[in-house]
């Protein structure tokens, strides 16, 4: 029965899994330590935490190892793991004004109170392949750290000391001057739904939009935000403030509900985009705001999210980035990749059915030709 397709599924799957392991290991190099990934693949770990929507650096690093560096696959592993975890409770609203900042810039003003803090960025590095990295050894690392750490302790390496500073927000200043739209009262009054527990329907509350975007795939968000920036529904954004740092998370004490307890802190990237002016209910024009926030250090994602937050509130649906349904249904990396991959599944029953239709249509076509 050489022609019976895809038989013996179980054995085939097991063999495929073994092959995956072999392909990862056949180079013969030392096994990657999860700690190494966590430390040295910092941005990949952050991206996976964001898209997997679970703040767990070790698990994200492990997922990256398992997925051989495929961030979408790693995010999927993390999300599937997340869905097995008990939901203990919800944190109180985190205030990013309390952020212990490692990086903070504003494109809107030359200088801002507290100053621009470049922090760890390669924005201004020349993109030249660094061949020295190929030779990097523990000795090099020790040498560098030996020089860097004392300077950092003396406070010479901006924002890298023991105590990280926090700063007022640029948008608060604009708001105090009446230049910025005031927060939407109905939005603030809305109960925040949990999109993993309640179905998403449209029009979606802003909180739901934010959640979908915070879990969104970086590339997907970027492509849609970029389409707006290029001209499909441009909102003329200016980066009011971009900050990266640690935000404390608090919960109500379980047995003493009046008491608030800090349970830890998470690294987040926050972007606030100042956009095209609009007249408020009182008819006075003000700048509008787009907001983005995601786990870890991922500036492209936070900026894209802020741009899309604003484009989706335009009210028109003329450009893809303005249509919330278009944006929210297409940026989830886990959903999009799963469905894209599903075309690899057998479809021979459906194909047989369309084949039947094609043959029939060809027959009808030939008969018509013949009769003419």
């Amino acid at each position: 029965m050489g022609y019976v397709p895809i038989k013996g599924g179980k054995a085939a799957i097991e063999a495929a899994e073994e092959l995956v392991r072999y392909f990862r290991l056949r180079g013969g190099s030392a096994p990657l330590e999860v700690k190494q990934i966590q430390d040295q693949m910092r941005l990949a770990v952050d991206r996976v935490m964001g898209e997997g929507s679970l703040y767990a650096p070790f698990h994200a690093a492990l997922a990256l190892k398992q997925a051989e560096g495929d961030t979408i696959e790693a995010s999927f592993l993390l999300r599937a793991y997340r869905s097995t975890l008990p939901r203990i409770g919800y944190s109180l609203v985190a205030d990013t004004r309390e952020m212990a900042v490692i990086r903070r810039i504003s494109a809107a003003f030359k200088d801002i109170p507290g100053g621009q803090i470049l922090g760890p960025t390669r924005d201004y590095s020349l993109r030249l392949l660094d061949f020295q990295l190929a030779e990097e050894s523990l000795t090099h690392i020790r040498e560098f750290m030996g020089k860097f750490i004392p300077g950092a302790i003396r406070g010479e390496k901006g924002g890298m000391g023991d105590v990280l500073p926090s700063f007022p927000k640029v948008v608060d200043m604009l708001r105090a001057e009446g230049l910025l739209e005031t927060p939407n009262k109905t939005e603030e009054a809305e109960e925040i739904i949990d999109i993993t527990r309640q179905p998403l329907t449209f029009p979606a509350p802003r909180a739901a939009r934010m959640q979908v975007m915070a879990r969104g795939e970086t590339g997907g968000l970027m492509a849609l935000a970029y389409s707006s920036m290029r001209g499909y529904g441009n909102i003329h954004p200016t980066l009011g403030e971009l900050r990266v740092g640690y935000v404390p998370l608090r919960v109500h004490h379980r047995t003493r509900p009046d008491e608030v307890v800090t349970v830890g802190r998470v690294l987040v990237t926050e972007a606030e985009v100042i956009a095209r002016m609009d007249a408020g209910e009182d008819g006075i024009p003000r700048f509008t705001l787009g907001y983005g926030l995601c786990f870890g250090h991922n500036e492209i994602k936070a900026i894209s999210m802020a741009v899309l937050d604003r484009t989706m509130r335009t009210g028109s649906k003329e450009a893809p980035a303005e249509d919330e349904e278009f944006v929210l249904y297409h940026i989830d990396g886990i959903e999009a990749s799963g469905f894209t991959a599903h075309w690899k599944l057998p479809h021979y029953v459906t194909f047989q059915s369309v084949l039947d239709r094609l043959r029939r249509a060809q027959l009808v076509g030939r008969n018509e030709e013949g009769s003419q």
């Binding site: 599924g9 869905s83 449209f202 349904e325 991959a341 029953v349 029939r360």
Partner: protein, 290 residues
């Protein structure tokens, strides 16, 4: 009993009881409004979106320790995806499985309805990639929901009309739109047209789950299900006239077209592999007895 842990660390049938309860509530609503798509908060599973997560969540929410489970893909129990789904379900429930349609209490399927008739003590769960039958003519969910609310199906009808004008036939192969209970147009999932008549006035509860699109819908037993068709262009199933299964000789089942490895010739075999094997067995037994 349902709290029984099989694979350490996971709840019976993977999902937590709260999630299962919510999904069962949505299923009840779906049964109450035949053909209507009920939104639900689709959970993340350890298999990918688009690979049966909707059907799985329904199965997981329904299954009990006493159930006898059958999982098929393209009509076959042995296709890799069916194997994978069965593996996850067995791992987390420890239930008995079967390939025999007549024995299974719960059947999860992708793209087929088993050939053997189903009865009222059985449930068939379909995996659904596109729950929205109007997606062919309208991409926006907001608009299609409005169209369903107003029973506004004229654009889908025009699509069928234009198909006939252009091709002399309706060209929809599998996934043929049906009218359920005279009210909602429904996507029956990508089953071939062959299986569509068996949705009508059936004995069995049919449940449809779309995990990625987060929708559940149902055809309860004894519900009218009619394919959309024109009086002068009636609905037709796939044409297997003059063809028969190369293995069991069947002339009344849905067939897969196979290209022979060596000769390149076309051959046909049953898509429902378990039923095909059963027929061959019965034939052999009859032969021995004769």
């Amino acid at each position: 009993m349902r709290e029984k842990k099989v694979q350490s660390g996971y709840n019976f049938a993977f999902l937590d009881e709260q999630s299962k309860k919510e999904i069962r509530r949505r299923m009840l609503k779906a049964v109450a409004i035949p053909g209507y798509q009920v939104p639900f908060a689709s959970r993340e599973l350890p298999i990918a979106r688009g690979w049966g997560t909707g059907g799985l969540q329904l199965t997981m929410s329904l299954i009990g320790p006493e159930d006898i489970l059958k999982v098929i893909d393209q009509g076959s129990d042995d296709v890799v995806n069916a194997v994978n789904i069965r593996k996850l379900l067995v791992l987390t429930t420890g239930v008995r499985t079967t390939e025999d349609t007549r024995e299974a209490t719960l059947i999860q399927t992708r793209h087929r309805i088993p050939e053997e008739p189903l009865e009222d003590w059985q449930i068939l769960v379909f995996q659904v990639p596109y729950p929205e039958p109007l997606r062919r003519v309208e991409p926006s969910e907001v608009k299609t929901r409005e169209m369903h609310a107003e029973a506004d199906y004229s654009r889908l009808w025009v699509y069928l009309y234009e198909d006939i004008v252009r091709w002399g036939e309706i060209t929809i192969g599998a996934q043929y739109p049906v009218m359920v209970n005279g009210r909602y147009v429904m996507d029956p999932s990508p089953i071939p047209r062959w299986d569509v008549p068996r949705l009508n006035m059936a004995e069995t509860l049919y449940l449809f789950g779309a995990g990625r699109e987060k929708r559940i819908y149902a055809v309860p037993p004894h519900t009218r299900v009619e394919p959309l068709q024109f009086t002068d262009y009636p609905f037709r199933v796939e044409d297997f006239r003059c063809k028969q299964c190369a293995l069991c000789g069947s002339v009344d089942t849905y067939l897969d077209e196979i290209i022979d490895d060596t000769t390149g010739a076309r051959r046909y075999i049953c898509s429902d592999t378990a039923y095909c094997a059963k027929r061959r067995r019965l034939k052999e037994e009859a032969g021995e007895n004769a």
